[in-house]
Amino acid sequence: MQLTPLYRRAAGLLSVIMATTANASDWATRSDLDLRPGVTQVSQEVHDLHTTILWIVTAIGLLVFGLILVAMIRHRRSRRPNPSTFHENIVLELLWTIVPFIILIAMAVPATLVLFQLEDSSGSELTVKVTGSRWKWNYEYLTYKDDNQVNLSFYSNIATPVEQRETPVFSAGLFPYGTASDRGGQPAPKKDHNYNLEVDKPLVLPSGIKVRFLITSDDVIHSFWVPDFGGKKDAIPGYVNEMWAKIPEGKEDTYYGQCTELCGKGHAFMPIEVKVVSQDKFDTWLADEKAKAAAAPDLTPFADLKEAMDAGEGVYKANCALCHGNNGEGGIGLKFAGSEFMTDAKHLPEHIDTLINGRNAMPSFKAQLSPRDIAAVVTYERNAFGNDSGDLVQPADVNDHESQ
């Protein structure tokens, strides 16, 4: 690991503190000191409330600390050898019980009003079901204006390549698989500007209309948070929570968010990317996507093993590496490197079936990967990591299995 020199770090922090304005939507260039005002009207009200409260508590803090400081300076023994002896004052004690109470009421009123707004998701024109799933998000467009059967659904995976994340010195526990010297001298890989924030397929939303999110989960509790939309809601398996956002016209941009409830190993790696576009563009996009979803799957066979392996590597890194390891070394999931399951051809149908239908903790990938992707990744797993089984699976094989 190469450390940035300390003085450059200090300069970096200083520039952060000095920076007061920046492009609101480009989150990654701006390391805020304060809460983001956000882009929706409610998020800005939340921000205003935050600012008010922050000033109130700062004032209280400064009052208390100021009094302590005065006492520490003026009432030290060298200046005041004879202490006073008072130890009660009913008026004072009542005063500092009642005054804070009044301040609290002054804080509670605006808080309650903003809360009412946040909780009111009525009158929405677009409904999106958001499902947290270890460790990706599924977006399902349910209703849009008059259309109650939109039926468009897709998964959204982190797009930051695994290579940018580096390989930890201690891979699974504190006892090293690799050693520090394996990595010695190698510079940390360069990271994208939007490292750990970008996804392969962002959620696309129209500006200018109220969007209702119906948030739930497939497995454990996740939490859906886009700071610019003014809050978060937990995704709870078996229950649906509601949240809403209305992005004003003219604020079409890309917004980022992250999962905020610990959901296991990939908690830090299931970002949210929201592309807000004008309603016209959204209509076109929706029509295109629906057409694509309706089309028959691409079953063009792979020309050779290499083509399948190249395609499969990308699929593997995006979908499998977190549980089964970058190099198939296993972890939460099965170890692939040298596994008999991968090298013995008799397990091939079972292998395909596991991807399609899932098995125990392993989820089904039928809804998120095309037959071509599944064929590629099965081929990859059976030939990478020194498995070299030579098995080549074609999209049609997977498609046959799916339709069985």
Binding site: Y239, V240, E242
Partner: protein, 294 residues
């Protein structure tokens, strides 16, 4: 009372640390027992249950020896009135902690009945929960059909459970008669009524065993039957465990009564066992009303 000095064991006592070893052995054994029973592929072997039982044995022996020491001190006149007060207060706070333990499960019961089940049926802010995830689910209590479609039957209150209520209430009365006998120094009467209480306790446990058997074999009411079965067995099962402990406690104090350990002003252990018994009795009344009846 023989002494004014507050008794503190001068040479310490080996039992606490041995009891800690016992607890550790029990806990570790239980965890491995569970792993080896439910996941034999990853956990070959069957030694977990023996470790578990060894741990329980250590605990049992230790508690016996620990109590033997305190009984000797008590009989030897080393305990004074203040120490008796410490024991009594300690026991009351222990019972309070048990109340809170049951409180957690009762809380789960009320939360389930009043909130979870209606929510799954679309009440409150959960209309979409019902519509999107459990469209066929009907909110009802007792919950005899789970959201994922597991069916069971509700336990009827006015059969065996009502009889059990009568048994337990009677046992409280017999124990109170015993208590009066103790205060009046009538040992024969005390022995008779305490013996009767123990018998009633054992009857209660036997009837509950019959009820469980009926639930499992004929009603489909099991731990696997969804939240109704979960709460039913959790609450009644924990109560049953407490009745078992209470019965053992009463048997122990009964043998001490027979040996003549207690007098009207030196009877902490007896009173503790009686309080404990009344406590499980009161818990049962709540159970009967909240779990079986309403």
């Amino acid at each position: 009372m023989a002494t004014d000095k507050y008794y503190i064991p001068e040479h310490g006592s080996p039992w606490p640390v041995v009891a800690s070893v016992g607890l550790f052995t029990t806990a570790f054994g239980a965890a491995e027992f569970i792993h080896q029973s439910f996941n034999p592929d990853s956990y070959p072997g069957a030694w977990g249950k023996f470790v578990f039982m060894a741990g329980l044995a250590i605990l049992l022996v230790t508690v016996t020896l620990w109590w033997r020491d305190t009984i000797r001190e008590s009989v030897g006149g080393l305990h004074n009135r203040v120490l008796g007060g410490s024991y009594r207060q300690g026991m009351m706070w222990f019972i309070f902690s048990e109340v809170m333990f049951f409180g957690a499960f009762f809380g789960a019961l009320f939360y389930t009945r009043w909130l979870i089940v209606p929510w799954l049926g679309g009440a409150g802010n959960n209309a979409m929960t019902h519509e999107l995830l459990w469209p066929n689910f009907q909110s009802m209590w007792p919950l005899v059909m789970t959201p994922d479609g597991r069916a069971t039957q509700a336990m009827e209150a006015w059969g065996l459970p009502a009889l059990n209520t009568a048994v337990l209430l009677t046992s409280s009365v017999t124990l109170t008669i015993g208590h009066h006998a103790l205060i009046e120094g009538k040992r024969g009467r005390l022995i008779f009524f305490q013996f009767l209480t123990v018998l009633l306790g054992i009857s209660f446990l036997s009837l509950q065993a019959v009820e469980y058997h009926h639930a499992y074999t004929e009603m489909g009411l099991t731990l696997h039957a969804g939240i109704y079965g979960s709460l039913f067995f959790m609450l009644t099962g924990f109560h049953g465990a407490h009745v078992t402990i209470g019965t053992i406690f009463l048997i122990i104090t009964l043998t001490r009564v027979i040996r003549g350990h207690f007098s009207a002003d030196n009877c902490f252990a007896w009173e503790a066992s009686a309080w404990y018994w009344h406590f499980v009795d009161v818990v049962w009344l709540f159970l009967f009303v909240c779990v079986y009846w309403l």
